[in-house]
Amino acid sequence: MLVPQDTHCWNSLDWTRVLYAGRGVFYLAETDRYPGVPDNGAEDATLSALLAQCGQGDRAAFRRLYDLESKRLYGLALRITRQPALAADAVHDALLQTWQRAARFDPARGSAAAWLTGLVRYRAIDAMRKRAREVTGVERPEEADEAPGALDRLLASAAGQALHRCLNGLEQRQRQVIVMAFVEGLSHAELAMRLESPLGTVKSWIRRGLQALKACLNS
C-alpha cells in the first residue's frame, strides 16, 4: 500500500522500503518485528583475514575479497550515483585503495565491512558532488526503487536492529535526513530541495539527529 509523503510513513516503524514518486520519497511501514539476532562475526572475520592477506600482497585473497564484496559495494555506489559508469569508477578506486592500504586495516578499530563501505561511499559521493558542480542545474535522475527486502536486510544484524530502534526514537525529519543522506548520498542542498525545507533547518535536523542517535546507541 502506498502512503502519501509526510502523512504517517515517516512516523511509522518501518521507513525502510523506499519508493520514489516524482520528487517524493516514501518509506513504508511493514512491521515492527525484530527477528532473532544472527551473528555476523564470522563473515567479518573472513573479510579481516582476507584484508590481512591482501596487505602481504596476496592477489588470490584480493580476488576472493572482490568476489565476496563487489556486488554489495557496487550496489551501494549505484544507489548513490545512479549511473553505472560512475558507480564502477567509485568501486574501482575504492578497491584499489583497499589493496594499497590493506596492511593498515586494524580489525580492533572497526569492522572490515564498515571500512569498505566507507571507502566506496566517500568515492561515490565525491563523484556526485563534482558532477553536480560541472552540470549545474541538473538534478540526478530519480528512478523507481522499491528496495525490496531493505528492512529484512537492515534487521539481519544485531547492529542493524539497534540502529533501527534508535532511528525510530528520532523525530521524523531527523530520521528522514539521516537515512536519505546515508543511503542516497544526498548533500545538504539536495536534501533541502527534496524536503522543500530551508538549508539551515536541514542542517539542524542532521546535527540534532546525529547527536540523539549517538546518545541512543551508546546507552
Partner: protein, 231 residues
C-alpha cells in the same frame, strides 16, 4: 569553515554521513591522517551507520571491472627493490632504528637530524612522512638553508601511469593545505614551501597526472609528517 560543526565528533559524523561539501570532506580526510582522535571518531561513526548500507540492493558490477582493477593493481604494485634510491636513504634504511622506533614522528625526525649532523650547519627542520597507522617512514623532508625543502623517498613506491604523488604543506592553524608540487618519479625533489617551517605538516596525496587541478588534494593522503627543528 564557519558553517562547520565545532564539535569534532559531529564533524566526523557529518563526514561519514557524506553531507560535508567536497573541499571540507577532503580536509577532514587529510586531517584524520595525522589526527588519531579524529580517525577514531570517524571509524566509530562508520560502525554506527554502516548497517544502513544494507538498505541498498546488491548489483552485479560491469564485466570489465575486475580486469580493470587487476590492471591498476599491477601498475600500483610496489617496486621496492628495483627503484633507484638515494645512497643516504639506503644507508638510513638499513638502520635497525627504523624497526624499533616507537614514537614515530619526532623520534624519527631526530634520528635523521643525528644522521645529517655530519654537516656543520645549524639545525634545520626535518620531517618523517609516514603512512597512516605505520611507523615505517616512506619519505624524509628537510628544510635547506636556502629555504627550499628537500624531499626523498626511503621506500620508492610506483604509482599508476595516470597518477602522480603531490606534496602539500599544512601550516599550523591553517585550514587548507598549500600545494608544493608533484614529486618526481624517482621520489626526490626540491620545493619552495614558502611557509613557516616549524610545526608545518607535510602531506603526500595520490593525484591525477600532473597534480590536483583544483589546488586542493583530490585523492587520498598517503603519507603525512610534521616538520620539527631538532637540536
Amino acid at each position: 569553515m564557519s558553517d562547520l560543526p565545532d564539535d569534532p565528533d559531529l564533524l566526523a559524523a557529518e563526514y561519514v554521513l557524506g553531507t560535508l561539501d567536497p573541499a571540507t570532506a577532503r580536509q577532514v580526510a587529510a586531517r584524520a591522517e595525522a589526527d588519531p582522535a579524529l580517525r577514531r571518531a570517524i571509524t566509530a561513526w562508520e560502525e554506527r551507520l554502516h548497517p544502513l548500507s544494507a538498505m541498498a540492493n546488491e548489483a552485479v558490477p560491469p564485466d570489465g571491472l575486475w580486469r580493470r582493477l587487476a590492471a591498476s593493481i599491477d601498475a600500483a604494485e610496489p617496486i621496492d627493490a628495483a627503484a633507484p634510491m638515494h645512497v643516504a636513504a639506503r644507508a638510513w634504511r638499513s638502520l635497525a632504528v627504523w624497526r624499533c622506533a616507537a614514537a614515530a614522528g619526532l623520534a624519527l625526525a631526530a634520528g635523521l637530524a643525528a644522521f645529517i649532523v655530519l654537516r656543520p650547519a645549524p639545525p634545520l627542520p626535518v620531517a618523517a612522512l609516514l603512512p597512516s597507522g605505520s611507523i615505517a617512514p616512506a619519505y624524509m623532508a628537510q628544510l635547506q638553508p636556502d629555504g627550499t625543502l628537500r624531499v626523498f623517498a626511503l621506500r620508492a613506491a610506483a604509482v599508476a601511469p595516470d597518477k602522480d604523488l603531490e606534496l602539500w604543506a599544512l601550516p599550523q592553524g591553517a585550514s587548507a593545505p598549500i600545494p608544493l608540487g608533484v614529486l618526481p618519479a624517482q621520489g626526490r625533489g626540491v620545493a619552495s614551501p614558502n611557509v613557516p617551517a616549524n610545526g608545518t605538516q607535510l602531506l603526500i596525496s595520490l593525484e591525477q597526472k600532473g597534480g590536483s587541478p583544483t589546488g586542493r588534494p583530490q585523492g587520498p593522503v598517503l603519507y603525512a609528517g610534521t616538520l620539527h627543528v631538532v637540536d
